[in-house]
Amino acid sequence: MMRRLEAFFEKLTGRLPIGWLQLVHNKMRFGAALAGVAFADILILMQLGFMGGLVDSIKFPYHQMSADLILSASDMNTLADGGPVPRQRMYEALAVSGVKSASPLYYGKIDWKQPDGTVRTLDTFGIDPARVTFATPEINAQLDVLKLPDMALLDRRTRNVPKAVFQRIDAGQPITFEAKGRTLTVEKLFSIGGGMTTDGYLIVSDQTFLNLFPQRAAGAPNHILLRLDAGVSRDAVAMELRQRLPGYDTAARTIDEAITKDTAYQTTQRPVGIVFGFGVAIGILVGCIIVYQVLSTDVADHIREYATFKAIGYPQSFFLGIVFEEALILAVFGFIPGVIVAMLLYALVSSVTGLPLNMTLVRAISVLIGTMAMCMISGAVATRKLARANPADLF
């Protein structure tokens, strides 16, 4: 195996693969270096996984909506914040050419107290059960249930709820729970999944919603979802709506624009997103320090040999090649265990928290390229020690 790798690197570099031979010569140090790079990769991949989970959890509710455009308060950053939108904007929007239908969407949070005393936070959507608000067939097939007061559909991926609860509902045995001083009955389930700020979702009728949140008014939903006629340009209608509707209280966006704004806000303005970004930076820093330590020690240990090669007539580029060869080997060989462990941790964290942590090819390749860059930068810094390899000192 080692011989084959040596032959592979010899073919790759077109010379004796001294970098590879130096690394494997001291197996303890090589193992420690790989563990260090893998650790940095795991750190980076976990932070990116959490960030990706956050972004996915932001996208999921939007993707459930049966809408081309969304009208929200002008100060809206996420589905959950911003003021209400005057219901009359819905009728004004319906007057715009190309707008086929509109549905008000009410949003609130309720706490679901569990038998053990813990609380699950549910993001609650209030919808008109006579209209198609969501694109999910599973939800639309159960809209009639919501026409009865205090009935609710529950997210089957709600975090930290015993499976027996969902099995019971699936078996046709409704459950009830107290929320906001009312008794809600859950007869049916749907599937979205929790995020960073919620354990799961609940869908109720607009009337039930207003009963749960009596301070809210029917004439002021949080969002208005618009569906357009087939073949109509979303951007053109959004532009038309921006011109027609007063910008001080209403903003018209395509669903993609709303997702982009929501994602940008949550990943760059909110602490959770900044923390994950900071975690990635720390991972890169840790990786750089580890690789620099390994490479600079390696250069220092071989300074006399390098000086000998200089005396023989090898140019400076030859030594840079050795250090970069080592840097790339550390990057690739450290990445492999790093990505495997990260995938295992993704599965573990996902099963525990319900967060959608998935290793995407783009993320894996990005981190590999980033690791290579990280190792190359560390290698470039470590090559400064090569200047100490003075062949005249050999005599």
């Binding site: 010379r15 004796l16 001294i18 031979l21 130096q22 494997v24 010569h25 071989h302 006399r304 040999e305 000086a307 000998t308 090669f309 200089k310 005396a311 023989i312 007539g313 090898y314 140019p315 062949p391 005249a392 050999l394 005599f395």
Partner: protein
């Protein structure tokens, strides 16, 4: 000091692989600046074994490193294989060194490379063409030095003498025009030391390889074609054998 014959030949330096003229050298800066070589003039004969002798601090090693393109010439002139080293650029010095072979007192073998691979490094610097039969060349040299059973050994598994022999093979495998050696036999037993010196002499006869060596080994002095003695940075004796 340079003999009459050398002075007359100084005008046609092409026949000498090394010609040193008015060479001076200093170490240190400002008040700590100290001259270690003074106005040296001599030419080294092609294909011969020239020994530099002198007490510690006499300047012989500094002279060796100046002729070997390992230090920059500050004053005077060193013509090496027809090229002036005074004022030569770093790439020129690097290129010149590829025509030289170095044998250091310490073997300086690469600890991660086998004996064969260490010798290979002496060839690889010459490019792809030189590498065509590198295994044969390296194995032949190592075998000639009695290491045929140790070709794939790492330096850690070789004795001091064996390591030095690998270093000798590394210096010679590229067929250098000039070999610079610093006490090359210090770590070798009597027989192996003799093998190395006879090999250098044989290269001189067969290929015209010139050897400049710093040594105090009396066994080598007997075989030297010329012995130059330095004292406090000056040549005080220049003995040629017929």
């Amino acid at each position: 000091m340079i003999d009459t014959a050398d002075n007359s030949l100084a005008t046609s330096t092409a026949s000498y692989p090394i010609v040193v003229r008015d060479l001076g050298h200093w170490f240190g800066e400002d008040e700590a600046r100290k001259q270690v070589l003074f106005d040296l003039d001599f030419a080294v004969d092609a294909g011969k074994l020239t020994v530099l002798m002198g007490a510690s601090g006499s300047g012989k090693t500094t002279l060796l490193t100046l002729m070997g393109c390992l230090r920059r010439v500050e004053q005077g002139s060193v013509m090496l294989l027809g090229s002036e080293l005074h004022g030569a650029s770093e790439p020129t010095l690097v290129e010149k060194r590829r025509h030289l072979g170095f044998i250091f007192q310490a073997h300086n073998l690469h600890d991660s490379l086998t004996a064969m691979q260490n010798v290979r490094m002496g060839l690889e610097v010459h490019g792809e063409r030189a590498m065509a039969h590198w295994q044969d060349a390296a194995a032949h040299l190592l075998s000639a030095l009695g290491l045929q059973e140790r070709l794939d050994y790492l330096p850690a598994k070789l004795s001091g003498g064996q390591k030095q022999r690998v270093a000798v093979a590394r210096a010679l495998v590229g067929n250098p025009d000039i070999v610079f050696a610093d006490e090359p036999t210090a770590a070798l037993d009597k027989d192996t030391g003799a093998v190395v010196v006879h090999m250098l002499k044989q290269l001189g006869r067969e290929r015209g390889t010139t050897t400049v060596m710093v040594t105090h080994d009396n066994r080598i002095l007997e075989l030297a074609d010329r012995i130059i003695t330095l004292e406090d940075g000056r040549i005080v004796d220049d003995l040629r054998r017929p």
